[in-house]
């Protein structure tokens, strides 16, 4: 790791967005990660996405576990509350926070060790509950912070600087599909063009959105025999689609060549325009997505893009029938039944 303070991120300009915020308003503290770490690119993409969406930064709650990746919420959206919890347990903390106030945007940032090893159970359960969140796994195949041990997402046969991994990998994208995630995508920290619109769509999504973002660890797993290195991912990246995120409710009018574009609409009214790179890939077909992923993985490809979307997704609160008012805004008036009711209740115990 480097301890040399780096200059603030380079911006295309300080043009304000609709809210009058510039990029700078979406930044956080200066990153302490290694120069070239994929995680920093993901932070930059998040900043870009939030800026382009005209998000009010303070409406976001940034939650993470422990790891290099989990440090990153400190490095973006400085005006948002953040919670760097314990290793592998961000999903439960995020779930609790979401229960308390359903009105905020929950960004969960995690690593592959955090999500697929120690925290696999919590990852699975918060996805299957349909917690309304954006869950980003910054996936580098190793434990960065503890210096390069393989994580559970490392491919079988993949080599780090010092070892060969002989265990089968856990694919969080396939898992998310099985578990009922309503927005599933994979991307690459080195492909900002793909990542930013995916992040925007995920933030607009009203359900469990899982993004597995391959994010090379330059320190421990960027060697030629690693399947999570920049070179490997660039060479084997098979994007199924290109996404355009379109805000607002106006239907898309432009004509497209048949079979090349698919338009889907999310619960909040936003449209996603998908330029198909694989003619027969349908991101609204969960079972199809699973089969496709399996086949392409066997062929050594890294499939990226918007892999699955349930257009009219529900979230945990729908199942719990929670009141529209955030629970943390309720007062004695709604919460405390009062002494008269208690007196009556006492009678039932006599």
């Amino acid at each position: 790791m480097t301890y040399i303070a780096k200059p603030k991120l380079h911006h295309p300009g300080l043009k304000p967005n609709k809210l009058g915020f510039t990029h700078r308003d979406y930044e956080g503290s200066i990153s302490t990660l290694c120069a070239g770490c994929g995680h920093d690119s993901i932070s930059a993409a998040l900043i870009q996405a939030a800026y382009e969406l005209d998000l009010e930064p303070y409406r976001v709650a940034k939650m993470s576990g422990i790891g290099c990746s989990s440090k990153t919420p400190d490095y973006f959206l400085g005006n948002a509350h953040g919670f760097n919890s314990v290793h592998g347990r961000m999903p439960s903390v995020l779930t609790g926070a979401n229960l308390a106030n359903r009105d905020l945007i929950y960004l969960g940032v995690s690593g592959d060790g955090d999500s697929a090893s120690i925290g696999l159970g919590q990852f699975a359960h918060c996805v299957r509950r349909g917690v309304n969140m954006v869950y980003i796994c910054e996936n580098n195949g190793v434990y960065g912070l503890t210096k390069g041990q393989f994580s559970a997402t490392a491919d079988k046969g993949s080599r780090s600087k010092t070892a060969v991994n002989s265990d089968n990998p856990i694919d969080l994208v396939s898992l998310a599909l099985v578990l009922g995630a309503t927005f599933v995508a994979r991307s690459f920290s080195g492909d900002k063009k793909q990542l930013v619109p995916l992040l925007k769509a995920a933030i607009a999504h009203q359900g469990s959105a899982v993004l597995d973002v391959i994010s090379p660890c330059v320190q421990f797993n960027n060697n030629p025999q690693s399947t999570k290195s920049y070179d490997f991912v660039r060479e084997h990246n098979e994007a199924v689609n290109r996404l355009d995120f379109i805000e607002g409710r106006s239907p898309i009018t432009a004509d497209y060549e048949p079979g090349t574009v698919q338009v889907v609409q999310q619960h909040d009214g936003s449209f996603l325009k998908l330029s198909k790179l694989h003619a027969d890939y349908d991101p609204t077909d969960r079972a199809g997505a699973m089969a496709y992923l399996q086949a392409r993985h066997a062929a050594g490809e890294v499939v990226t893009g918007l892999l699955y979307l349930e257009e009219q997704a529900d979230d945990l609160h729908a199942g719990l029938n929670t009141t529209a008012t955030p629970l943390n805004k309720l007062t004695e008036r709604e919460l405390c039944p009062g002494s008269a009711k208690l007196a009556a209740l006492n009678d039932e115990y006599r």
């Binding site: 995020l94 779930t95 609790g96 719990l320 006492n346």
Partner: protein
Amino acid sequence: MQPISAVNDFVVKFANVNGSGSASANELFARAILRMGVPVCSRNIFPSNIQGLPTWYEVRVSGEGWLGRRGETADLVVAMNPQTWNKDVDSIEAGGYLLYDSTKPLTTQKLRPDVNLLGVPLTSLSNQIEGTIPRERQLLKNVITLGAAAQLLSMHLEIIEALIADQFKGKDKLIKLNYRAMQLGYDYAAANLAGKCRLKVEKADKVGDRIFIQGNDAAGLGAVYGGATVCAWYPITPSTSLAEAFTAHCKTFRVDPVTKKNNFAIVQAEDEIAAIGMVIGANWNGARGFTATSGPGISLMQEFFGLAYFAEVPAVVFDIQRGGPSTGMPTRTQQSDILLAAYASHGDTKHVLLFPEDPREAFEFAAEAFDLAERLQTPVFVMMDLDIGMNDWLCKPLTWDDSRKYDRGKIVTAEELEAGKFFGRYTDVDGDAIPYRTLPATHPSKGAYFTRGSSRNAMAKYSEEGADYVYNMQRLLRKLETAKGLVPAPVRRDAKEKTRYGAIYFGSTTPAMDEALAVLEKHGIHLNTLRLRAFPFGEEVVDFVQAHDQVFVVEQNRDAQMQKLMVNECALDPARFISILHYDGTPITARFITQAIAERMKVTHKEAAE
């Protein structure tokens, strides 16, 4: 042997088989006596099993109002379980009674010459109930027994009938069947066993307005009154019924009458780690959240307790203690998580613990715990046990002061931030070591901070500077000093006569202790007592111990955990303490305490004389 004669002062023990449906008939029995104005204490002793293993339901009838278990013996045993026959027969007091199913003659079973037999042909009577299937007849056998016992003990049939009518409201067929079964037992006893039993329940006026309620039920209700909106839990005996009670009371009180939406969220988590994680997330975000668990769950939650302590996030945890270690005795009671909870998690930690004495206090402390957790920004443990949690206890009615406002602690608002109020998350502005917090999304540009379990400075910025770390750790210690003035104070009671001896106790030991003290007093042994209600300990504890030459500490664990906590935290001389320890998993009894203290007093007196 003279048969025991007693009015309103005896113990009845029902020996049943788990899953045989005896629980509701047993409870009816206890409630019927209460409705006759006579106090009872009931204890359910059950195995970790769904069907087939032995269970006991013990009802102590006490006109004098003693609410703890008397001892291990009973005056009347209702032996419904062939498996435990011998043990049950052995547990009868000399001159006591044995009620059994006399459908088949007793041949090989153990009997005692000093025990009086009360045979009722339960099986053959149950076969007389027309239009029933075998399973129903099995259930009704319990009611026939109830009818017979009621007759033998001179109880009022119409009181039981009223209770049955309440229980099966709207199910006329069931009411009729139960009436019929009860009458069968009653009539049989009247015709065949008249005058054979000299135990008697006589109408009295000793119950007053008291209620009969389980601690978990009361605590779940306390959480509703205390404003809890988020409950995350994982099933474990003996805490499950607390989460279930919270759920039931929320359905009654917390569904918006207009929108039909829930003003609460209850999640059955995937494990206890997730449960406490959710509680911490909810509290961090300004909702009152809690979990209910038992020892194994507390063990799993350790890492998160450290986070909540260090990052200063409120959390409320109900620990319904059971027999440990490991799976231990999952359906038996103990007070053996005290040290585990007090110092939960790695590193230097200390937590606030509350020790309710009965369901009424469980209700109060449940509500209070949320105020304390938010005021102190730290986890608060309500330390109950299976005995309080899962047994019906006779206690004062629950009350609520409508003028009471929730204490949400030190939260900086958007208006205050806007007006330029200083906010430094971990600075001690008021000198009480409690910092201010902001809730997420309070203000567009002010007051956001990063919560973490790693070291930081007073402004919440990551820091590995020794001085920053020490500042926080010292402040956390001082915060605990502040807590001493906020938690419920111990209750001191002085003996009628001046004495050099004291006794300290807490939680479910209280009723047995009350009785033991009265008995000891009759024998000329006088003790001043202190009932602990919370940790950290205030000066009262130190003063009490130092004011006595010897202090008995009565606990339901092997290692004298509370005593160790006092020695450790108050720098007290261990030689002052004498531990009285009961930890076989059954609730502590008055006889046990009396004997243990009397014996020790003999020894101490002798030592003093030498």
